[in-house]
Symmetry: C2
């Protein structure tokens, strides 16, 4: 029996990389999306490095139209990124409208084309619930849309939906994930800036997992 039945949405950040290592036995391929954000190129390098290490195919898809037509500070250069912890007021500008819906829809079609029966994504809870397309209610309804729209050939699984980033980092630490091969910073520079919300969250998570912070 072929157990490689899963397509994983792999950004190259901490969460999806942890999921890659936790579920590597069932992953048939990964898909990475570029959508015009500052940090896409650095994330993609990490996604490539981890897939190469595990011998798993990585499909890279360019959603350049999002950078052209969509509104988000994440798509407007590093200087537009707020420097503060996740909080509704300062971080709402970094929402990329329906980003997870778009990535999951493309992944669903790609999975069905490849006869893979499962799509996985590493959205999680905690501060990230500022983003409507990370919440449990979105994942539930998107999963239903994927099931009905593929004639029940593809199912969505998002097992980190109720975990915090600290939980994920602890899980990754126990799996031996090398987080130096992941990237988080919304500014997209060579090194993590240490000041944007995602850097602050990364630092807290690495500390919670008794790992050495790199930002």
């Amino acid at each position: 029996m072929d157990t490689k039945d899963t397509l994983l949405v792999l950004s190259g950040g901490m969460d999806s990389t942890t999921m890659l290592y936790e579920y590597k036995e069932r992953i048939g391929a990964c898909v990475n999306f570029s959508y015009g954000a500052n940090h896409n190129a650095r994330e993609a390098e990490c996604a490539r490095a981890n897939c190469r290490h595990l011998g798993i195919e990585l499909i890279e898809i360019d959603l350049a139209f999002m950078g052209k037509y969509f509104k988000s500070s994440l798509l407007e250069g590093a200087d537009a990124i707020p420097e503060a912890e996740y909080a509704p007021d300062n971080i709402a500008s970094t929402v990329v409208p329906f980003r997870n819906g778009i990535m999951l829809s493309v992944a669903a079609g790609l999975a069905q084309s490849r006869r893979l029966s499962r799509v996985m994504i590493a959205n999680h809870g905690g501060d990230h619930e500022i983003y409507p397309d990370c919440r449990p209610s979105f994942i539930a309804s998107m999963g239903e849309a994927i099931a009905t729209g593929t004639g029940n050939e593809v199912q969505l699984e998002a097992p980190y939906t109720l975990l915090t980033k600290n939980d994920i980092a602890r899980r990754g630490a126990s799996l031996g994930v090398d987080y130096s091969l992941t990237y988080s910073c919304y500014k997209g520079g060579e090194k993590h800036c240490g000041r944007c919300a995602t850097c602050i969250e990364r630092r807290q998570a690495l500390l919670a997992a008794d790992l050495t912070p790199d930002c």
Copy 2:
């Protein structure tokens, strides 16, 4: 009050063009997708002509990765298209996996970016229920995913879901829609082939509306 609150997914075929004319007072912009299918170029010409005629903006988005990575006879050149009426056996090969899910997700993000509160699509019933992502259950769950994933800023409406193509053609005839500025053939030639399922369906619909068939 600004009533131009809607983004319409406009392929350039009979159904979405009818919807364009029926709902033109509320349409703020249309979006047309190319995804590597034989007929995309001819459809897009029609979408442009109708939007120009009505003075409505048309946003054209290239989903070229679908032609590259997705499996469907619709993406494999004109010779791969079955020549027969819509029926599960002969037409299943023309399904483009989760195509409507992908187009609706992109449209939802684009609508939210433009502060448009509604996405409309002209999926319909009848023979098209061979396609899982045209069915009422898919539209209902995708609508729920769009509402939750945009923080209730965007709603999906698909008012033709329970109509047949004959119903739509009759409605278009009463609105005075010029169907010579629409294109249907899955082979994508200069003229309609008259033999593929969508040409056969087009001919029947035009006859049902007391219009002169062009294929």
